[in-house]
């Protein structure tokens, strides 16, 4: 993290802090919420980047974890507001507790999914993670108690002790702190012995095994942490929109998170942030310009894969250290 990439990361961090504040002062509530969306999507992608970028595990099912986070927030708020209980437990509208449950639940699910999926490699891994996500997607669709296909509204945004979460800029602040915390965590993980092992599990499994470290356990641990971060993003996303639906778990969403990681630069700490900014802004502004935004988004993505390998970070900051 030195040289040009360090400068870009610094610029991205400064932009995330300053631009929304300026928008808030200018009274542009819509754009403050848009910034929250960017940050939350970036957080989901930071999670995936740990598995996909650093660990080389191409998960096509991370939307499942995103959706788990969303549904924990939604179901918890649903019961708390109606005053009913979930399997005999009373639920909460406190964000920190909701996050904790989201992250733990996603961790347990990821442990199960990872333990089976990581037995496979390459395309099989891509497809089996997709299959598990589809399983959860249909599970969410077929439960009418929580909205089924129509989704579940969160009528009142969940609360955070001492803060007014209805205030757009305060909610943005919560999101951006969560993003920075996960970026910091990722940097610490990759700087640790575990991170070095994860790198090697990606580059040369045999060498890692020769060093007496089981690649499977390293990968599984990284996969679980990665899922947990994405679940946190899902819980925030549900609160931002005031709504959860099975589409949070659809394979389109998995593809989108993946696209953001690749667009930004695979295995670069701040790549997902750059990717999320580019993706959400493109989607929003192309959507404002033309009904056919999907066409142009597709063309831009295609151009990025074919001609700008390494994504935005690769384009601006040059090759990653490993290549």
């Amino acid at each position: 993290m030195r040289g040009r990439e360090g400068w870009i990361n610094g610029a991205l961090a400064a932009a995330l802090l300053i631009v929304p504040l300026a928008l808030h002062l200018a009274g542009e509530v819509y754009y403050v919420n848009l910034a929250s969306r960017v940050v939350i999507v970036a957080l989901a992608a930071v999670g995936l980047n740990l598995a996909l970028g650093y660990g080389g595990m191409v998960s096509f099912g991370h939307a499942a974890f995103f959706g788990i986070g969303g549904y924990v927030a939604g179901i918890s708020a649903h019961h708390a507001i109606l005053g009913t209980s979930f399997l005999g437990l009373s639920t909460t509208t406190e964000m920190p507790l909701i996050w904790l449950i989201s992250v733990l639940l996603a961790g347990v699910v990821a442990l199960a999914i990872g333990a089976i999926s990581l037995r496979t490699k390459g395309v099989y891994f891509i497809m089996i993670t997709l299959a598990f996500a589809q399983m959860l997607y249909y599970f969410a669709i077929s439960f009418p108690a929580y909205g089924g296909e129509d989704g579940l509204p969160i009528y009142v945004r969940n609360t955070f002790p001492g803060l007014n979460t209805f205030d757009p800029i305060t909610f943005y602040g919560i999101c951006v702190v969560a993003l920075f915390a996960c970026l910091f965590l990722t940097a610490r993980i990759m700087g640790s012995r575990f991170g070095a092992a994860l790198d090697m599990a990606h580059l040369s499994e045999t060498r890692l095994a020769t060093a007496g470290i089981a690649p499977f356990n390293i990968r599984l641990t990284a996969f679980v942490i990665s899922a947990m971060m994405t679940a946190l993003a899902g819980a925030l996303f549900a609160d931002l929109n005031g709504f959860v639906s099975p589409s949070m778990m659809s394979w389109h969403r998995s593809g989108e998170i993946m696209v953001i990681v690749i667009l930004g630069g695979v295995g670069r700490l701040w790549g997902p942030v750059a990717g999320a900014i580019a993706f959400v802004l493109l989607e929003t502004f192309l959507g404002g310009l033309t009904e056919r935004w999907g066409l142009f988004l597709g063309l831009i993505l295609l151009g990025t894969v074919l001609f700008a390998r390494g994504g935005i970070m690769g384009l601006i900051a040059g090759k990653a250290r490993h290549d």
Binding site: M127, I128, L130, G294, L295, L297
Partner: protein, 308 residues
């Protein structure tokens, strides 16, 4: 449960399986020969359905429409292969997934541009529009039987082509060792375009047939695409035989699960929760099947011993 209902559902399962086989055989050939994951395969299915519906409505003949649909899908496939896909063979799976994901966006929006957002309708041809009586007395549409028969013919044709013809020999050689057949003087670029166009034609055929059963609309290829991926992963990626067996397995499991599970749960639950739990489980059933197969045989049922 009456016998006729079970027979009817078994036939529906077989028909779904045959449709999935048409999709899956193309996907698995493209993966086996070129090592490419093509998410945009569902778009070629959509192209086949749209062109068939549009030409049928303009000309007034299902069969001319069907021919046009298959040819259009093959032509679009060949065009996409030459313009885009060809650059992806040397890339890793991640790039392939992203590029073909982008192609889906382009195709869906492009189709909406050309044909509008209203679904098109495709009528079953007069020749196949009747119904036969199943043992047990319930009527069954001839068109669905025709789809099953056609799928069986295509499976046989593919088998003969791959095992008996020169093109088939080259395809098998391409699966075994790409560089070697290039070195032996086979024009590998043309071979790849041909294989891709063949897969596209099969997808277009599947789209046209299903288009006559349901409405023809943007996004119709995506659910089928995901199922086709489940099929080729269960069958072993690269194996056409695996695709056939996987497709039938998935088609029958899905269809039978949807009627059998709710009544199975009804044996020890009250009716409304049995329906809820049963249908929830039924919609997850094929993914459970896939997870089970991969947990036991990580390379699928019929692993192909070539490149991973």
């Amino acid at each position: 449960m009456p016998l006729s209902l079970i027979i009817e559902q078994a036939l529906n399962g077989l028909q779904l399986g045959v449709t999935l086989f048409l999709m899956a055989s193309g996907l698995t050939l493209v993966f086996g020969v070129m090592g490419l994951i093509n998410l945009a395969h569902g778009s070629l299915y959509m192209v086949g359905a749209f062109v068939t519906a549009w030409v049928s409505a303009s000309v007034g003949s299902f069969w001319i429409g069907l021919g046009a649909g298959i040819m259009a899908a093959a032509a679009v496939g060949a065009l996409v292969e030459v313009a885009v896909i060809r650059r992806l063979y040397a890339r890793d799976h991640l790039d392939q997934v992203l590029a073909t994901f982008a192609l889906i966006l382009i195709f869906s929006e492009g189709t909406r541009w050309l044909f509008g957002s209203q679904p098109l309708w495709l009528d079953v041809p007069d020749l196949l529009s009747g119904a036969v009586t199943l043992p047990g007395g319930s009527p069954y549409p001839v068109f669905r039987l025709a789809i099953i028969a056609m799928g069986a013919l295509v499976a046989l044709g593919l088998y003969l082509m791959i095992s008996r013809t020169r093109l088939g020999m080259r395809i098998r050689a391409g699966e075994a060792d790409r560089e070697m057949i290039g070195a032996l003087g086979v024009d590998i670029a043309t071979l790849y375009t041909l294989v891709f166009a063949l897969g596209a034609a099969l997808a277009g055929l599947a789209g046209a047939m299903v288009g006559a059963l349901q409405s023809v609309q943007v996004g119709m290829g995506e659910p089928v695409l995901i199922l086709a991926f489940v099929v080729i992963v269960i069958g072993g990626i690269g194996s056409v035989k695996g695709a056939l067996i996987g497709a039938i397995l998935v088609g029958v499991t899905d269809t039978m699960g949807r009627i059998l599970l709710p009544s199975a749960f009804g044996l020890f639950m009250d009716a409304s929760s049995a329906t809820a739990v049963g249908s929830a489980l039924a919609s997850m059933l094929i993914y459970l099947l896939m997870a089970l197969v991969l947990a036991l045989k990580p390379q699928g049922l019929f692993p192909v011993h070539a490149r991973a």
